[in-house]
């Protein structure tokens, strides 16, 4: 298995999707084994590709720019050639590992979690397609395949978020997710076409090269970059497109894990990381990414603080993380961003699967109905805790290393640095809060508590595996570990090929961040364990602020109002215009005016013979005169 054979990877789950979608109901166990087999094969096949990659890297060193392989899809001779092709380089390798592993975990987990679901087979079919699309997305060597899979990723998340189709809320949430991301995709598509127009190719590497050579006009480039980022913002749920992500919690919990950790939302980060050379060429491009990232990370931290739905809290933590990744990209450090993405995939999947385990056991997901589960579900509690504290940035867990890399990268930019520091305790605080409210204290609903139990092996094994990875993956920042994992020169070199980027370890920053995280965790512990009545009183005193956070800054309301009162009302006006003006006045009006003309003209029909005869004679005279004078 060479790098150029990587096109096989997405085809495996895609084939599984086709088989499951067409024949799923007739297969034993609805074919779940086929989906797992496919993704398992992908995971296994990733390793020879990594080996091939490292060999090539060792051979060519920094000059190695990846391997591409493509086939023609359609062609308008001389004018347009559309290809499907794969391109493997460092970022791709990282993404492949993340996607295939998390997807495998999620699918195994779903065996237990989704058991007995009415549309079990369909669920596996869609999840296979989801993985296939995401693999194609990260492997794509051109914008066509990228957009192709980008949209399919959106479709699959739509189908999966709306999996519980009998729920009105799920139907609405899936619709919201698809439409919101689709709005961003408008930007992406326009950007792709603009770049094609300027460079005549859809190949990503060629476009970057052309842009760097100055072959793309500045205005076009600026517009493309902004529009490109719009697409990434939609997919990665960046402010102000973030509204769909919390609602997407309507989907089955393993799906949330997949969407948040490995597939849907990281696609935006991947896209920006991949296209970062273009952003660097445009004045203000990086600042735009940075600003959006900061905004998202800060706002989501405040909202995460007050959410009571365990999944929603985690969803906001994802926004928080995604914001951080964009911040890292915004200061030109894709290595830090990709490292964060890499580690985030494991602990975020872990968090969601842990939450899923809780929901599976108690059938509740609001923290007001949970609590005290430590005794009943110790394994879930421990693994969830590892994930939560990793998210919070507790030292030596995966999140800690990645977050510190971002902070180091931010040192140059004081404002951004301060902003991120500000969010650190907030993040730590709400992760502590959700952990405490779920697993510690007294059970708030004894009934639910009583029935709670650890899930079957299919649920616990993925939890443990992910927890272990969360404990260790952070150490890839050290060159030695990176090499041991097969990345020569550490992961930094792999991800960023423009030059060796060894990860710095700034002691001052690290100590500072540890202090802040500790403060946050301590505050959380104090507020929800030592003085549990405190949060309520603070909430009561700061009612408006709490309402602001809990209602997600009223953005949903604003959007809803815009949709209802501007867009739909405008549409109704257009429809009214069409019916009453264009049709009833224009088209029917032509008919009526014909009728009216007939009404007017009928009065010449006097019914009197001499009148007709006179008219005839006048006509004859006129015609004869014409003929006479012409001759």
């Amino acid at each position: 298995m060479n790098m150029s054979d990587a096109w096989v990877l997405p085809l495996l789950p895609a084939a599984a999707f086709v088989v499951l979608a067409l024949f799923g109901p007739y297969l034993p166990r609805k074919g779940d084994w086929l989906a797992i087999l496919a993704i398992g094969a992908v995971f296994v096949l990733t390793f020879p590709i990594i080996a091939d990659f490292t060999a090539a890297l060792a051979l060519e060193g920094e000059a190695f720019a990846g391997v591409a392989n493509s086939i023609q899809w359609m062609e308008v001779p001389g004018h347009l050639e559309l290809n499907f092709g794969v391109h493997v380089d460092g970022i791709t390798i990282v993404m492949l590992v993340v996607v295939s592993f998390v997807a495998l975990m999620v699918q195994v987990y779903s065996l237990g979690y989704m058991k007995g679901d009415a549309r079990y087979g369909w669920y596996y079919a869609v999840i296979s397609l989801f993985v296939a699309s995401m693999l194609a997305l990260v492997l794509a060597d051109n914008f066509l395949l990228l957009y192709f899979s980008w949209e399919l990723v959106g479709l699959c998340s739509y189908l999966l978020i709306g999996h519980y189709s009998h729920l009105r809320s799920a139907a609405e949430a899936s619709k919201k997710a698809f439409i919101t991301t689709r709005l961003g995709d408008v930007g992406l598509l326009i950007a792709i076409i603009l770049l094609w127009r300027e460079t005549g190719t859809l190949n990503i590497q060629d476009i970057i090269a052309a842009a760097q050579a100055g072959e793309v006009g500045r205005e076009i480039l600026t517009a493309s970059v902004v529009l490109l980022f719009l697409g990434a913002m939609g997919k990665s749920a960046q402010f102000p497109f973030h509204v769909w992500l919390p609602d997407a919690m309507e989907g089955p919990t393993p799906v949330s894990a997949l969407i948040h950790a490995a597939t849907m939302v990281v696609a935006g980060v991947y896209l920006v990381a991949r296209m970062l050379p273009l952003f660097e060429l445009v004045a203000g491009g990086m600042e735009m990414v940075l600003a959006i990232g900061l905004m998202t990370t800060f706002l989501s931290a405040t909202m995460g603080l007050v959410m009571t739905d365990i999944k929603r809290v985690i969803a906001y933590s994802t926004l928080n993380s995604l914001g951080l990744m964009f911040v890292a990209l915004g200061v030109g450090s894709p290595a830090a961003a990709m490292l964060y993405l890499f580690t985030h995939a494991f602990f975020k999947a872990l968090l969601f699967l842990g939450a899923g385990s809780v929901i599976h056991a108690t059938e509740r997901q609001d923290v007001s109905g949970l609590g005290g589960l430590w005794s009943k579900m110790p394994l879930t509690a421990i693994t969830f805790g590892i994930g939560a504290f990793s998210m919070a940035g507790l030292p030596f867990l995966a999140g800690f290393w990645a977050k510190d890399e971002i902070l180091v990268a931010l040192l140059e930019n004081k404002i951004a640095f301060a902003f991120v520091l500000l969010t650190l305790p907030l993040t730590a605080m709400y992760m502590m809060r959700v952990f405490v409210l779920t697993f510690l204290g007294e059970p708030k609903e004894p009934e639910a508590h009583e029935h709670a139990h650890e899930g079957p092996l299919t649920i616990t094994v993925p939890l443990v595996l992910l927890a272990v990875l969360t404990l260790v993956t952070g150490f890839v920042v050290f060159d030695q570990v990176g090499r041991a994992m097969g990345f020569p020169g550490g992961i930094g070199d792999v991800i960023y090929l423009h030059g060796p980027h060894a990860f710095d370890f700034n002691v001052a920053v690290t100590l500072g961040s540890i202090a802040l995280v500790a403060t946050g965790l301590g505050a959380g512990w104090y507020a929800w364990v030592i003085r549990p009545e405190l949060p309520a009183s603070i909430m009561a005193r700061l009612q408006p602020v709490h309402a602001l956070f809990a209602n997600e800054y009223y953005l949903n309301n604003v959007y809803q109002a815009i949709i209802d009162h501007v867009i739909l009302a405008g549409a109704r006006v257009v429809a009214w215009f069409d019916r009453n003006v264009v049709n009833d006045t224009g088209i029917d009006g032509a008919a009526y005016s014909t009728g009216f003309a007939a009404y007017v003209m009928k009065f010449q029909q006097t019914g009197k013979l001499p009148n007709y005869a006179l008219a005839m004679v006048i006509g004859i005279v006129a015609l004869a005169a014409v003929a006479f004078f012409k001759a």
Binding site: P610, N611, L614, V617, I618, I620, V621, A624, A625, F628
Partner: protein, 171 residues
């Protein structure tokens, strides 16, 4: 001015006078009588054109049969000779149109080049030649014309024949 020309002008004047009488007379019977005058004058014109047969036919059929028929028509339709009922409201317009038509026709006649102009020579056609032509060369149209007459006859009878119930409506 030759004698022939003089005769022509007299006859032409009579024809025009008769025509004007037809369209202007206030009394319907007078109008019919003027028609006879005009038709007879036209017969005279035919003689001037050396078509005696035609003149004969004109006198017999037109001046005789048709005018009598028209007089019967006048009688049967009992028209009261009220002045206002004789001339339609559009007469000024009609006069203009007719005058224009006349002007146009006469101008056309005057500005065109005609054969036989110079000497005014015409050819007399004997009855025999005419008869030969009518029954040989023009036999088919002749038969068709007779058929037309027959149909007109039958049609006239059917139209004027009273069906039951018709009489009630006539009052």
């Amino acid at each position: 001015m030759t004698v022939a020309q003089l005769i022509f002008y007299v006859i032409a004047a009579l024809a025009v006078a008769g025509g004007l009488g037809v369209v202007l007379a206030r009394n319907t019977v007078y109008a019919a009588l003027f028609l006879i005058l005009a038709l007879l004058a036209v017969a005279g014109i035919y003689i001037l054109l050396a078509s005696e047969f035609l003149a004969l036919v004109q006198v017999l059929i037109y001046a005789g049969a048709i005018t009598v028929l028209l007089l019967f028509g006048l009688m049967l339709t009992r028209v009261d000779d009220l002045e206002e009922s004789m001339v339609g409201a559009q007469w000024p317009l009609a006069a203009v149109a007719s005058a224009l038509l006349m002007g146009l026709l006469i101008t056309t006649v005057a500005t065109s080049d005609w054969p036989g102009d110079a000497d005014g020579m015409i050819t007399r056609i004997p009855f025999e030649t005419l008869g030969q032509a009518l029954f040989r060369q023009w036999a088919v149209p002749f038969e068709i014309a007779s058929l037309v007459l027959l149909i007109a006859l039958v049609g006239a009878i059917v139209l004027t024949h009273d069906e039951e119930g018709d009489v009630e409506e006539t009052k």
